[in-house]
Amino acid sequence: MRSILRTALAFAAIGVVLYAAAYYASERLLYRTGDTNPFFKIETAEFEAYDWVILGASHAMPLDFADFNAHMERETGLKIHNLASPGTGPLYNRFVFEHFLRDHRTAGLVYVLDSFAFTSPTWNEERFADAKLLARAPFSLEIAWRMARYSMEEGVDPRAVLDYLTGFSKINNRDRFKSDIWEGEAQFERVHRPSAAATAKRIDYLFPQDAPDQAALARYLGEFAALLDLARRQGVEVAVIKMPVPPRFYEKLPGEAAFDRRLLALPAMRQALFRDFSLAMDEREFYFDTDHLNRTGLTQFFDRYLKAILVGSETAVP
């Protein structure tokens, strides 16, 4: 039995060395293929200080599709860093923002808000365990430590922390050689053909529960308030916006008015600029899918509304 134990130990030791090599190679590869992941963007940020950071879920992502971020920077003369990632709610975004503030600074924060992201752990705690996000997040002890803290305090699955520490999702990444570009970006130039079935499917995906979970809503509004407080403590100006969506999509959003009332009742919101552009752009040719702006739509949106907010003008009310 002793001999088999020795053999097993030798086998495991070689295995660990090989695993470490695979981990290292995956980490290096990540730097060659990384693009969209917020932690990758923070790690590879060009500047230490920015004028604006953009947070939110997928509706904020087109602002960084193709050359659009550069376009906004040219038009405003500001430095903008978009750290949005798909399907992420306030808890995940607070985590990203905390990590960003560790080594960077920003004068302003645009939070692109979606009500769905306040309704379920699916868009918050559970996003930490998403293999796609973990696979593209560069290793940093600081992130690992923060994740461990979120695991203890916020209910993030400890397996997500273990995954991040061991680099499992990076090594196991099936798209390891592909660039980390969100699938929506490939459709950025397209025009969507409205479909009631597609809209209904999308709403079902975003709101998996039959009725809004009031406890979850209260919790994530609290997380959002914590994010706003963090920004206030750091002297960061905050603009909370809701991106335009087609009216047929907006009509299907469950309890949107009630959500807005509860959002605006947050004391932390008094310090923030809030603009709801949900119904500001109803032309079909402005969207590349059921609810995301395409290049034409985004250009219009930027020219008509967002630019004013970024440059600090008060003409931003739609």
Partner: protein, 490 residues
């Protein structure tokens, strides 16, 4: 806590370590506790069913052993079987039959359902199909005197609940399992090595091969009416290997895990796609523990092949139809597809029996040609394709879908040489083909001489390189999103 989950990778070493540290006499108890914890991790209430079934067979078996009166013995056997197998039938079919009756009533009255039957709206605990059959075999063995009633209730409880096999078999016999519990339950070094090899190989088959084929299969079968003939043809081939790797991968892991406790479970798969006839496939190579269960507890009691030709044909069909119904609910819902699947396999057996004299005559006239490699390959290919056609009924959402898939493939066969070069094969397809080729290569080698014996004869460096290659294939290519094993979903 699936075998391919992080939870199981933490659970198993803990159970093995405590097991090894305990005195011999306590090990069965620890394994019983671990088995119930494992089982309850899926659904705590499921452990109650398990305990209930165990109690029923223990009491009935004890009663059968206590009396010589035939009527009482028969009554106890019948009571035990009706409770255990009756529950299985109710769980599997009650809601389905109720819905079908309502639908038939509605069709009869042109739209209006004349009655609404109560529905249970419950599904059976995972693995119920498997441990119900183990429990039934125990009762029958006690009744016919193959086995003395278990004196040790704990051992019997472990027999029904043993965690490596409870979800999807093998459907172990008490005659081979219980005697092992009376021994030391200590794993020898050779058993530990063999167990680890089987676990890794089983995971490879499940996580790398089966789960990489699954998305392509799922996509084509879900849009049967819109998929191209090439999509469907590829999906049919891929499904044949998906279900094999999924199920045999599970079994390999189960046998490997049991070996870590010094327990030997029965072989359940023997390179089934190298069968030369469907009789060989079902008799000796695919899901052997179930095939032998049906042989011993249904086919033989019905008279088997000794009750005349007509009865033999009828018995075969009965066994295959019931086997088809047993499979209903395993992964792909409950429907008529399983009845058709069972009947089609029964029909294959009929044809096999009918042409057996011709095959024997041919083998006697040209023994060399009959045993030649081309003939062998031809037999294997024909058998594989017959089985693959039958799998379409197993996998399709309805009999109509299955027929449509087969029609579309058959209709497109003539154009295949033109269609295939133009088909937009993706890297996922090439990975699937590569993995299947690798599996077939390994199985052909294994058929000639055990792959484990071959490995043992290799130099250490080469052997370890092979182990690391498989382990790192799991890391690089495995799909670890804990997709369930097909056969444990009922």
């Amino acid at each position: 806590m699936l075998f391919n989950s992080l939870g199981f990778f933490l659970f198993l070493p803990l159970v093995v370590a405590v097991h090894a540290a305990l005195p011999t006499g306590r090990r069965w108890a620890w394994l019983l506790v671990a088995s119930y914890v494992f089982y309850a991790s899926f659904e705590p209430a499921g452990a109650l069913y398990l305990a209930f079934v165990t109690l029923v067979v223990y009491l009935c078996g004890w009663g059968i052993g206590r009396t010589e009166r035939r009527t009482v013995r028969i009554a106890l056997l019948a009571a035990g079987l009706v409770i255990v197998l009756g529950l299985l039938v109710v769980f599997k079919f009650y809601d389905f039959v109720a819905s079908e009756l309502e639908r038939a009533g509605a069709a009869w009255l042109a739209g209006e359902a004349p009655f609404a039957l109560p529905h249970l709206g419950v599904t059976a605990p995972v693995g119920f199909s498997f441990y119900a059959f183990s429990a039934a075999s125990y009762l029958i063995d006690v009744y016919v005197g193959r086995l003395a009633p278990a004196r040790h209730g704990g051992h019997l409880a472990l027999y029904t609940a043993f965690f490596p096999k409870i979800l999807a078999g093998p459907i172990e016999r008490a005659t081979t399992f219980l005697p092992q519990l009376g021994e030391s339950l200590r794993a020898h070094p050779e058993q530990i090595v063999a167990g680890a090899q089987l676990i890794v190989w089983g995971l490879f088959k499940k996580v790398v091969i089966a789960d990489n084929l699954a998305p392509l299969v799922d996509r084509a079968f879900s849009i049967a009416a819109y998929a191209t003939p090439v999509d469907l043809l590829v999906a049919v081939y891929f499904f044949a290997f998906q279900i094999y790797c999924d199920f045999s991968g599970y079994t390999d892991i189960a046998i490997g895990v049991a070996l870590l406790f010094g327990i030997q479970l029965m072989e359940n798969f023997r390179r089934p796609y190298l069968s030369r006839s469907t009789a060989e496939f079902w008799g000796n190579r695919w899901h052997i523990s179930l095939a032998h269960w049906f042989r011993d507890y249904l086919y033989f009691p019905l008279g088997g092949s000794r009750a005349g030709q007509v009865r033999r044909y009828a018995n075969l069909m009965i066994v295959f139809v019931i086997s088809g119904l047993w499979h209903a609910g395993l992964g792909y819902g409950v429907g008529w597809t399983f009845l058709v699947w069972g009947a089609l396999n029964g029909f294959y057996q009929w044809v096999g029996l009918a042409v057996a004299p011709v095959r024997r005559w041919f083998a006697a006239r040209s023994p060399q040609f009959a045993a030649s490699t081309p003939m062998l390959v031809l037999q294997v290919l024909v058998t594989f394709h017959l089985i693959a056609v039958a799998w379409v009924f197993f996998r399709a959402a309805s009999v109509g879908d299955a027929v449509l898939i087969l029609q579309r493939i058959a209709g497109g066969l003539a154009q295949m040489p033109a269609l295939l070069p133009r088909y937009p094969f993706t890297p996922e397809h090439y990975l699937g083909f590569g993995l299947i080729a690798f599996l077939v290569f390994v199985e052909v080698l294994d058929e000639r001489r055990s792959i484990w014996k071959r490995l043992a004869a290799w130099p250490v460096a080469l052997r370890w390189a092979a182990y690391y290659a498989v382990i790192f294939a799991l890391l690089f290519l495995g799909r670890w999103q804990a997709r369930e094993f097909i056969y444990m979903q009922f």
